[in-house]
């Protein structure tokens, strides 16, 4: 029955592509989370009136973030080809997609982190300082825990974007569902393959969103 409706779908290939997409998204989300928080913290802490106020560092990071956030992803992949081949040794396959995915998504997430940190009441930071907390203690015990719900909902949005980025990366050879939909579905006019790949991408996105929402509401004690 299913074979009649979707004659061209090879489930093993489809499953392998799904795993590739999940792999790329998973690793990229993890790396983006860490890099984005580091960049976001730096943006926040070096801003005017904050703990590490430093106009130069702030301007440099802000410029970096703005530039990489503005470059369309498909162009970013092409621009990063020399960097990727130097780092990974090839520009094909799932691993080759990772540098572009992280460099594309981390600046975007860094801005969200910065906004989340700015939402923290300055008085709470002042209270921690008044107790004799060091800057590290303030980062680990005040800034990150207090902004955690916003950090989680931000990484959820970023993860959803990353799924579509992997599809774009797939179109130029990184593998995954995007690659399959493009090569098998579009170029060979197998619409059923495109359809199934799309449904699977949608399922991945819904699951990510669901997990993000549940976790956010669980940790939000405001």
């Amino acid at each position: 029955m299913l074979a009649n409706l979707l004659p061209n779908v090879q489930w093993e290939t489809m499953w392998a592509a799904t795993v590739e997409t999940l792999y790329m998204t998973g690793v990229a989300v993890a790396a983006t989370f860490v890099l984005g928080i580091v960049l976001g913290l730096l943006l926040f802490l070096t801003a005017k009136g904050n703990l590490w106020e430093n106009r130069f560092v702030n301007t440099v990071i802000a410029a970096f973030v703005n530039i990489f956030r503005s470059i369309p992803f498909i162009i970013l992949i092409i621009l990063l080809i020399p960097f990727t081949t130097w780092l990974v040794g090839t520009m094909l396959g799932a691993n080759a997609a990772l540098p572009a995915l992280v460099i594309g998504a981390a600046p975007f997430y860094a801005r969200m982190v910065e906004i989340a940190l700015r939402e923290i009441d300055k008085g709470v930071i002042e209270a921690a300082q008044a107790m004799g907390a060091s800057t590290w203690t303030i980062i680990w015990k005040v800034l990150l825990p207090e902004s955690l719900p916003a950090l989680v909902s931000g990484i959820t949005v970023t993860a959803v974007s990353l799924v579509s980025y992997t599809a774009m990366a797939g179109a130029i050879g990184a593998g995954g569902l995007g690659n399959l939909a493009y090569l098998e579905g579009f170029q060979r006019s197998h619409n059923d393959v495109t359809f199934v790949a799309t449904v699977l991408v949608l399922v991945i996105v819904f699951v990510i969103q669901l997990i993000g929402d549940v976790v956010t509401s669980k940790i939000d004690k405001r």
Binding site: D121, G123, V124, E126, A127, A128, Q129, A130, M131, G132, A133, S134, T137, K141, V142, P145, E146, L148, I219, K221, R222
Partner: protein, 371 residues
């Protein structure tokens, strides 16, 4: 409420006893400010927030700083724990030069200076227990000891049963109790209160003020508070400084300042307390009704407020005395009251009556003389 058990249990509580014992040696200086100035560089020139302030605050006293917003009191209190650095002058707290020390030494010093805030500034992601444990984590207290100390503090501030609640589940008064417990966690020598009751309703304000007095007495803690409410000064302070435009314009014992306010701003604050705004109007309305005699304002302070003065005067002198309006408020050091009276009779009898009243340590101000 049973508060005292923590004093006698073992371990860290020794510190409590020690600080309580130190508190009895009143009179030793805990905080000294010498010609302290704080100037902010703003885009359109500089702003002098604190202007050549010199102060001495003694160990174990409750010292209030009152002023309207923008007077510089917020900056002044932040100079005491190094959240602000003085542009000039010296800030000495518990023997440390808060303007000079940096890094680890400053953080260590801050652990001996608790602070509570108008908006409580609790970590919403932590429970009551975890919030109170936070300064102990900062000080590197081991976990088991932390637990014990937190339990004592929860009992001290009367939050038993709410340990696992998050700040969002607490009322304003309860939040401030958490703030107080947190500020006391590391057995500080000084407690700074930054408008600590300004966001609370009158009843809760009184409960929190009672708690502060209780802690001051029990632990011998030096308390410095800033406020714009005379009520707070009246209720708990031993001494008061009045601040205006970055300067301390007047300071002294609360009762003394209440009795003889010198500066216009101080008079305004004192007035706010003892005579509601309508009083003056109500009294002047009465002028017409008393074509003879005079209307005087009698100001009682301390012990004088408890004497049967009116009946003594009427018995000893041939005058009639009629109370038009009055109010007595309790201060930390004694009562303070104001009476508006109409006195009538022969001129020399009135004069003698007024002399007598003055001889009883009651200030007399004739505000309307129909003679």
């Amino acid at each position: 409420m049973v508060h005292h058990t923590f004093l006698f249990s073992a371990g860290r509580k020794v510190f409590f006893l020690r600080s309580a014992a130190l508190g009895r040696k009143e009179g030793e200086t805990m905080i000294t400010l010498e010609h302290v100035t704080k100037i902010y560089q703003a885009a359109n020139g500089s702003v002098t927030a604190v202007d050549n302030v010199s102060l001495e605050i003694r160990e174990g006293e409750i010292f209030g700083i009152i002023g309207y917003s923008g007077a510089g009191k917020s900056t002044l209190i932040r100079l005491l724990n190094g959240l602000e650095k003085p542009t000039g002058g010296k800030v000495i707290v518990a023997g440390r030069d808060m303007g000079r020390i940096k890094g680890r030494e400053l953080r260590k010093a801050r652990q001996e200076i608790g602070m509570i805030f108008q908006h409580f500034n609790l970590l919403w992601s932590r429970t009551v227990r975890e919030n109170i444990a936070f300064p102990l984590e900062i000080a590197g207290v081991p976990k088991a000891e932390r637990q014990k100390r937190v339990d004592e503090l929860i009992e001290l501030v009367g939050l038993t049963g709410r340990e696992e609640a998050y700040p969002s589940q607490l009322s304003g008064g309860q939040k401030q109790r958490v703030g107080i417990a947190r500020a006391l966690a590391n057995n500080p020598k000084v407690l700074l209160c930054d408008e600590a009751t300004s966001a609370l309703d009158p009843q809760t304000t009184d409960a929190i003020l009672d708690l502060l007095v209780d802690i001051n007495k029990r632990l011998g803690l030096t308390i410095v508070l800033i406020t714009h409410e005379m009520h707070v000064i009246r209720k708990i302070c031993d001494r008061v400084a009045v601040m205006e435009n970055g300067k301390i314009v007047e300071q002294g014992d609360v009762l003394h300042v209440f009795r003889n306010p010198q500066q216009p701003i101080t008079k305004r604050f004192v007035k706010q307390l003892v005579e509601p705004e309508e009083t003056e109007e109500a009294i002047s309305h009465l002028f017409g009704q008393y074509p003879s005699g005079l209307i005087a304002q009698l100001t009682f302070v301390g012990a004088a407020a408890g004497q049967p003065l009116i009946s003594q005067v009427v018995r000893q002198f041939a005058v009639d005395m009629n109370i038009l309006q009055g109010k007595i408020s309790q201060t930390h050091q004694g009562a303070y009251g104001v009476l508006f009276v109409h006195i009538d009779g022969a001129a020399d009898e009135i004069a003698r009556a007024l002399d007598y009243i003055q001889s009883q340590q009651v200030a007399v101000e004739v505000i309307h003389d129909a003679r």
